[in-house]
């Protein structure tokens, strides 16, 4: 860090300005792509679920409803921003920002293809876990500051769920860390090239299963969407939010889903390596894997009913965490014997 700061601000370092410029351009590209994704992910979701339930999904705005996301965005933008009279103003303002900040800053360590990553740090996975654990603050604080019983209960439920499943998620990634011997996401992808299918999917199948379940619980998706159980809690922790502030939560949720899909693709499915090279599109296989994983998210949502709260907790603590621990012991033993 010291050396980095010194070189960064030493006089006449044109290289450094170039480096910073590249980083800024990379950030702009990534945020642009991610925002475009977030606009069209709900459209994709509605279409998939619609067809699964033998409906058409959005059809009215534009051909096949293609302009629906833009209409929704405009609507959210011009909606009145209502703040409850008894709300804790400062925390009410800052909680959606915390949610979005934690989701967006994680994007910085996600490698899109070899060499394209904003911050290639040695503690990539730890950074992802740290940021996802901070996301719980946004949720619980928004629930508390709204001063509404629905939001408060939703916030408490959600944070308990996120904290419980975070442990399972962290432990499921330990197997990957043991096998690749690194916390750097780029190195993890490189380590997978030697394995069958160029991925950890076969040796780490238990870890992958635990990760998939934990990822759904972490992002509050069906069948673990108890924080947003509309029949009992209206909309959960963001019940009192409206307009742009609601949109920030929405944005954070969909970026969180994208991140989980990206981490699954990078840590278990071999990242941007595929059966054959696609010319000019180095990130082709990562994109395919991410959207396949996202399709599974939607598929599960259209198929599986919601869990009960005690079932959710016992599944997390009594099945997922022991399973992940077993996977850690198994992977460690095999690694030691080889």
């Amino acid at each position: 860090m010291t050396g980095f700061l010194e070189t960064m601000f030493s006089p006449g370092s044109a290289d450094m300005i170039l480096t910073i410029g590249t980083i800024v351009v990379k950030i702009a590209i990534l945020i642009g792509i991610v925002l475009l994704h977030v606009a069209y992910a709900p459209y994709f979701e509605r279409k998939v679920i619609g067809h699964m339930q033998v409906r058409m999904g959005p059809m009215r705005v534009g051909p096949h409803g293609l302009l629906q996301p833009i209409a929704d965005g405009l609507k959210l933008f011009f909606k009145e921003d209502i703040i409850p009279a008894q709300a804790d103003k400062s925390i009410f303002y800052i909680s959606p920002v915390i949610c979005l900040f934690t989701a967006m800053s994680t994007l910085a360590v996600i490698p899109i293809f070899g060499g394209f990553v904003i911050a290639n740090i040695n503690i990539g996975i730890l950074f992802v876990l740290a940021m996802s654990s901070l996301g719980a603050y946004g949720i619980v604080m928004s629930g508390w500051s709204s001063n509404s019983k629905y939001a408060f209960l939703g916030g408490l439920r959600s944070s308990a769920q996120v904290i419980s499943y975070e442990i399972a998620m962290g432990l499921s990634l330990v197997g990957v860390i043991i096998m690749s011997g690194s916390l750097n996401l780029t190195d993890i992808v490189a380590a997978q090239e030697a394995y069958p299918l160029k991925s950890f999917i076969i040796p780490q199948i238990i870890g992958f299963f635990v990760f998939c379940v934990a990822a759904m619980a972490e992002t509050n998706r069906t069948p673990f969407d108890l924080p947003e159980a509309e029949s009992e809690l209206v909309a959960g922790y963001f019940t009192e939010y409206s307009g742009m502030r609601f949109a920030l939560f929405f944005l954070a949720e969909y970026i969180g889903m994208l991140l989980m899909c990206a981490i699954a693709a990078i840590c278990f499915l071999g990242g941007w390596n595929g059966p054959f090279e696609v010319p000019y599109i180095p990130f082709f296989w990562l994109l395919v894997k991410v959207y396949a994983f996202m399709f599974i998210y939607y598929w599960v949502r259209a198929t599986v009913p919601r869990y009960r709260y005690d079932q959710l907790m016992s599944l997390g603590w009594k099945l997922m965490i022991p399973l992940a621990l077993f996977n850690v012991v198994l992977t460690g033993t095999i690694k030691m014997l080889r």
């Binding site: 860090m1 010291t2 050396g3 700061l5 010194e6 601000f9 804790d88 400062s90 925390i91 800052i94 740090i121 040695n122 503690i123 730890l126 950074f127 876990l129 740290a130 654990s133 901070l134 719980a136 603050y137 619980v140 604080m141 508390w144 408060f152 408490l156 944070s159 904290i163 975070e166 916390l183």
Partner: protein
């Protein structure tokens, strides 16, 4: 120049935030300020090239311990605390004690000497990554204290379960 500036920024912010944490009347605000303070402590670890410790600082302190505080605070009924202006009547006495402690600390700083330089230079840590360096030392040189600490934590976990468990039917 810049490293010093970075350090003084962090030190100042940590001090100011710590003071704010203990003076807020709303404990939820205290916790949010404490969260920001933990980030600055993590920045200090990064400043020392200890990236692993920085991440652990965020994961353990901000992500686990402080969330636990938050839960406890949210479950309290905070009606009286929010309107109380002064919690302790005899606060001047505390101020005097604090000033005495400060004088004592400044007197102690004079006899502070730097320890011997260890094996791990910045170049060496950059070569094998901080995580690997800390892991190697922890699991070879300090394996006994490490295991003792883990046993103590295990006992604490079992103790918490025993205390929280409902009466066992005999």
């Amino acid at each position: 120049m810049l490293p010093e500036l970075f350090f003084y920024y962090n030190a100042t912010v940590i001090t100011v935030l710590s003071a704010l944490v203990v003076t807020r009347s709303n404990p939820v605000h205290s916790i949010m300020l404490m969260l920001v303070m933990f980030f600055h402590i993590a920045a200090l670890y990064l400043f020392l090239n200890a990236e692993f410790l920085a991440a652990i600082q965020i994961i353990v302190y901000a992500g686990a311990i402080l969330v636990l505080f938050l839960f406890v605070v949210l479950l309290l009924n905070l009606k009286k605390e929010l309107v109380t202006q002064i919690f302790i009547v005899r606060w001047p006495l505390g101020l005097v004690a604090m000033a005495g402690l400060l004088v004592l600390m400044f007197a102690g700083i004079k006899s502070f000497t730097l320890g011997p330089t260890g094996d791990f230079t910045i170049e060496k840590i950059a070569g094998e990554t901080h995580t690997a360096a800390i892991g190697t030392v922890l699991f070879t040189e300090y394996i006994v204290p490490f295991e003792v600490a883990s046993l103590v934590l295990l006992i604490a976990i079992i103790g918490a379960i025993v205390l929280a468990k409902k009466q066992i039917k005999t």
